[in-house]
């Protein structure tokens, strides 16, 4: 089924000190999907996000929300939650107080406790933000972005500085919101994360859109995965969930073309037979796409 376009960005252009930062940037964001904006440092990812947040004023370009052109890009803020860069709060207020202040501006005060619970900060809500770790601030940033339950979320490097478990937790949370109808535009330097999270991608380089597409199409049906073991594998792999002939088996390694679920299935199988792999390397196809276009 064809997805509806919730946001259409057309010919966004910005120059600063005679340098072109964004050159006719145009792309669409599909409703209920996660779109990843990828590109190297200085490509224009964050600037595009900032223009959409109304923090940076573009010289040219239009934005349409659900097919209707907005008079000012600032009007997008009525429908959008933002997490731009590393979130900074008032250090002399608690996490709860910071959120309550922001919530009072959008009449969403009753949601604050729920949001803090959702991002796992209930217990730390009465601590001053100055005592928060980087990850806690990031989670508080996510909570403020979700305030007043926006239809659209803009996340600029949301996983910056997060521990793997917190990151996975946050990714799950984003997925959950998306399954409930939220649309997300996200940037991250961690392409492997975006590969797991995003539905679509837009590749930007030197302020120009180089490529757009569906993440699954870039990845294909499977990725090249290498399992490395610290002991010799048994001669026969009994009850292996996959066709042994499709796997390239060596003494202490196995190579195969697998998707994420299949990779997890195979890891579980090896654990069950007492041969836990000590290294699993997956080829990152989104990264390959990125490298070949930048």
């Amino acid at each position: 089924m064809e997805s509806e376009t919730i946001l259409s960005i057309q010919n966004l252009s910005l120059s600063y000190q005679r340098r072109s930062i964004l050159k006719d940037v145009s792309f669409d964001v599909e409703a209920g999907k996660i779109t990843a904006l990828i590109g190297p440092n200085g490509a224009g990812k964050s600037t595009t996000m900032r223009v959409l947040a109304g923090l940076v004023r573009s010289q040219r370009g239009k934005v349409a929300w659900k097919g209707i052109y907005l008079n000012r890009i600032d009007d997008l803020r009525k429908h959008t939650g933002y997490l731009i860069d590393i979130p900074m709060f008032h250090n002399y207020f608690t996490g709860l107080q910071n959120l309550e202040m922001l919530a009072s501006l959008s009449n969403s005060g009753s949601e604050v406790q729920t949001l803090l619970k959702e991002v796992g900060l209930s217990e730390a809500q009465n601590k001053k933000v100055s005592a928060y770790s980087k990850g806690m601030k990031q989670r508080l940033g996510i909570a403020q972005a979700l305030m007043s339950r926006p239809e659209f979320l803009i996340l600029d490097e949301p996983f910056h500085g997060l521990d793997p478990d917190i990151k996975l937790n946050l990714m799950g949370l984003i997925r959950e919101y998306v399954s409930n109808g939220l649309t997300v535009l996200i940037t991250s330097h961690l392409l492997s994360d975006l590969e797991r999270l995003a539905d679509n991608y837009v590749l930007i380089h030197n302020g120009e859109i180089k490529r757009k597409g569906v993440v699954q199409d870039a990845i294909g049906t499977g990725q090249h995965v290498v399992f490395i073991f610290n002991k010799k594998l048994p001669a026969t792999l009994k009850n292996c969930p996959f066709d042994i002939d499709a796997l390239k088996v060596a003494d202490n390694s196995i190579e195969a073309e697998l998707n994420i679920e299949q990779t997890e299935q195979l890891v579980n199988y090896f654990v069950s037979i007492g041969h836990s792999p000590y290294l699993v390397e997956r080829e990152n196809k989104l990264e390959k796409e990125y490298l070949s276009n930048t």
Partner: protein, 277 residues
Amino acid sequence: MKLLRIELVKLLRRPRTYITFGVMFIIILLINLGIYLEGETLLDFIFKPLSDQFVISGNLVNGYLLSHIILNTLWIHIPVLLSIVTANVISGEIESGVIRFYLTRPIPRWKYMINKLFVAFVFADLFMLFLGIITFIPALFLFGTGDLIVLLEGVQIIPENELIQRFTWAFLYGVLSMSMFVSVTVLLSTWLKNTLAAILASLGIFIVSTLLQTFAFGIFETWKPFLFSHHMGQWQLFFILEIPWNEIWVSATILLFLTIVISAVTIMKFEKMQINT
């Protein structure tokens, strides 16, 4: 109103707000103490030029004289302390990145800036009120009341019964002056996006204007009306026996006009500003 409440809460929770009040309190305490201990010496110093021509009797070192001395002494200190807080209102949030949270809410930028300006003016007013309280109460308590002798355009002897009213006017005029100065610091805070630079620049402008005013004699007298520090200093005129109301109204109007224009420029500048932090 919600945004205004948030800004007021932020102002009241910031440590630097209390640091400025604390510093002012200590300065005035020291002046009071100094005059209490060395009052006679000070009196001799101030009225030495008059002692040859006048026979001075009665309680000259009184609370009113002390209050007048304090206001004259602190003419530079007040803007310094005000700038510490007000130069931080925008640049502080830009430097820390907190501003992003406010500007990504569905609030127009002009509304955000009007609230910031309003809070800066409220701070200036509170500061002046605090200054008035800590100047008068201890001074009147320690040194009592009496007529005020001021050396301004000759010798002015203001009767005691007029002094409360004259000081009130002078303070209200001071509020207007400091509001104008605060509008300059907020503009510079917005323009420079750096608190320290904004403090130094606003004080630099104030000091240069004051210096030019000091040197404004002879043919240079003509530049005086263009110096905002000249208009800021017109509170002194309330301590001339026959108050020159016309001169005061002109200066007050200029200060008000400057405050409005500078605030409007600040809002316009902020509307177009690129927030890159």
